[in-house]
């Protein structure tokens, strides 16, 4: 952000956040990211009474007693804009009252500095508008108590000082570093976006080169929402109250609570009514469209993500060959190492030669000189890896033998399942990247051509072997997929609707599995790891960490 672009008026609420943590203020205000947690929702709920604006603040010349709620006021000289929860007064002399959820904190003066400063900014705004204002009140809803905050010289100077540094931070265009080991992060609603401990320890380890870093786990609020998949001919989605119903002709197949949904995927000839679409878009639930065979066509999304800053950085790095290559090397390195781990764990007959060639190729990827050699390395590794794929399959039934990786159309059941799962994964990364503020179409490794969501494909590389490939051979080896799940046509092999459901079930089971993050040492679902990895790319673009650490299974 250019200095001139910083808005003239800073919301007092942002000054509060800045005082709490400068990074919080930057992420919410400059980058436009926000995530609710129980505290923020409760805060709004407790505010609801005062939020209905009532009463008027009389002109400062009039002399009488008054009370007004939810008043907006701006002060161009101080550079502040604020909403006063409540302002009471007698003639010229007024007192702003700020409502806070929770109880009076056990700190000196009975209020946190961030709240005092916010209140003082309101006081300054009132003064600039001609009122006399020497103190404010904070009302703590839970303890039903008022705490008075005198606007003494110290507080006024502190408030102005913080306002100046806030401006400076916004103008610098540099995200402030995360707090170190702070208890504030535990209550922070955006800790899942900020990743304070992850970033701090990565920065440390870039200096020291350590193994696993022990960090606290910040779970995202979205973890308990679920995806909805509908495939078939002529199915219809309808909105009924707070739920979406799935109909097939005259028969209701089932329903889903809208607030529980994280995303919706529609395959083939499934349609939905406009109320369904508008509801999903309003709630920011993305809808993805696929062909019957699982080819990902595209998606619908509500108003797009506000983090323009991230997109600008993404575009500039994508246009920088050297920086792009550095990221691409990491994606390929991660992919090859994960392929190797899959073989080492599941292929009894694998030779040490194969394993060491893969290891060598993974290293070569990291030092490749250009994209052409990197592509060659990736191709070579894929050939070695897929040549062993058959030995991952326990059944030696001829029907289920895998020959070559082939697609469009796949020529055997194994390839059919792989292709289908790659389609599902592209969608998964597409949606994850959108939710984290990226443009999924512009990548660093894959070229942005032919409408390919290049960044989704980039980030997907390291996960292909451990998600799609692993789900595929597990489904065959457990006997969950059998001959009757496939239709063999002259040209190729497709799956029956039942077969597709089995595959989707296997996929969901896999990505909800909790695994230990090899770098951070905590256990989380793969789905969450996808998001963490996307956010780590964002931090590389920010320049906070130097190298993207791919997710490597052990």
């Amino acid at each position: 952000m250019d200095g001139e672009e910083v808005p003239d008026l800073i919301p007092a609420r942002m000054l509060n956040e800045f005082t709490y943590c400068p990074r919080l203020c930057y992420i919410e205000w400059v980058q436009g990211e926000f995530e609710d947690n129980a505290d923020t929702v409760d805060g709004r709920f407790q505010h609801r009474r005062v939020d209905q604006s009532r009463g008027v603040v009389p002109d400062s010349e009039e002399i009488k007693e008054f009370n007004a709620r939810s008043v907006d006021i701006s002060a161009p000289e101080t550079g502040i804009i604020c909403r006063l929860d409540l302002v009471g007064g007698n003639g010229k002399s007024v007192t702003p009252v700020e409502y806070k959820r929770g109880s009076v904190p056990d700190v000196e003066g009975g209020a946190y500095e961030s709240d005092k400063v916010q209140l003082c900014a309101q006081g300054l705004a009132l003064k600039e508008n001609g009122y006399e204002c020497s103190e404010g009140m904070i009302y703590f809803v839970k303890s039903k108590r008022k705490v008075s905050v005198p606007f003494d010289d110290y507080l006024i100077n502190r408030t102005k000082e913080l306002l100046d540094s806030l401006r400076e931070m916004a103008a610098s265009g540099k995200i402030p570093p995360p707090l170190i080991d702070s208890p504030k992060c535990i209550r922070c609603s955006i800790s899942g976006i900020c990743l304070p401990d992850e970033i701090n320890s990565l920065r440390e380890s870039e200096k020291a080169d350590e193994g696993t870093l022990q960090v606290r786990k910040f779970l995202p609020a979205r973890d308990d929402q679920v995806p909805l998949y509908v495939s078939g001919y002529g199915q219809l989605l309808r909105k009924k109250g707070e739920r979406i119903e799935i109909w097939s002709k005259k028969e209701k197949l089932g329903d889903a609570k809208i607030r529980e949904l994280s995303q919706v995927s529609l395959y083939g000839g499934v349609s939905a009514t406009t109320p369904v679409f508008t509801e999903l878009l309003q709630r920011n639930i993305p809808i993805s469209y696929f062909s019957y065979g699982g080819w990902f066509y595209g998606f619908s999304q509500g108003n797009s993500h506000k983090n323009v800053e991230l997109r600008i950085k993404q575009f500039s790095v994508a246009g920088d060959n050297e920086k792009s290559l550095k990221l691409a090397q990491k994606f390929v390195n991660g992919k090859i190492l994960n392929c190797r781990t899959i073989l080492r764990r599941n292929d009894q007959g694998v030779s040490t030669d194969v394993l060491s060639s893969l290891k060598k190729l993974a290293n070569d990827a990291e030092s490749s000189e250009n994209f052409r050699t990197l592509l060659g390395i990736e191709g070579g590794a894929a050939q070695i890896y897929f040549s062993r794929f058959n030995s991952l399959l326990k059944s030696q039934d001829e029907w289920f033998l895998f020959n070559n990786r082939n697609r469009r159309p796949p020529k055997d059941p194994v390839n059919a399942v792989l292709s289908y799962l790659y389609g599902v994964m592209v969608k998964e990364f597409f949606v994850t990247l959108l939710a984290t503020g990226f443009d999924p179409y512009l990548g660093f490794y894959h070229q942005p051509r032919y409408g390919r969501p290049a960044l989704a494909l980039d980030l997907m590389e390291e996960f292909r072997p451990i998600i799609a490939d692993s789900v595929t051979f597990t489904l065959f080896n457990n006997g969950e997929l059998s001959e009757s799940d496939f239709i063999c046509r002259g040209l190729g092999v497709t799956m029956t609707p039942e077969g597709k459901k089995t595959v989707l079930n296997g996929y969901e089971r896999r990505i909800n599995t909790e695994v230990k993050h090899p770098l951070f040492g905590y256990k989380v679902s793969y789905r969450r790891i996808f998001e963490v990895q996307a956010r780590l790319i964002a931090r590389v673009l920010d320049g906070e960490i130097d190298e993207y650490p791919p997710f490597l299974t052990r």
């Binding site: 709920f45 609020a221 995806p227 707070e242 607030r259 079930n505």
Partner: protein, 98 residues
């Protein structure tokens, strides 16, 4: 954060219009197990949202709502519930595939 708890929510609402609105809201948060009794899997955040929405709908001097916390969804909740007779299936927070 993030972990779901199981709640039983039951309500008595005297006015049919408000009753309908409460019922509609509840359908978004849980599954009906009896008449005016729902079983809901909620995060801390969901619970506050539910309370906020219901508080706006009901008349606080005429209607009533009871919310019972049965503990974490992955715990031994089901051991604490005995069911006799016909009961609907539970939604267990997994991907919905049709």
């Amino acid at each position: 954060m993030g972990r779901l708890k199981v709640f039983i929510v039951s309500y008595d609402v005297s006015d049919p219009k408000r009753l309908y609105r409460v019922h509609k809201t509840m359908k978004g948060f849980g599954d009906p197990i009896h008449y005016s009794v729902f079983r809901c899997n909620l995060s801390d955040k969901d619970k506050i949202e539910l309370i906020a929405i219901l508080s706006e709908i009901i008349k606080h001097d005429e209607d009533r709502i009871m919310i019972i916390d049965l503990g974490f969804a992955c715990g031994d909740v089901d051991n604490r519930i005995d069911l006799i007779g016909v009961h609907p299936e539970e939604n267990n927070n997994q991907a919905i595939i049709f």
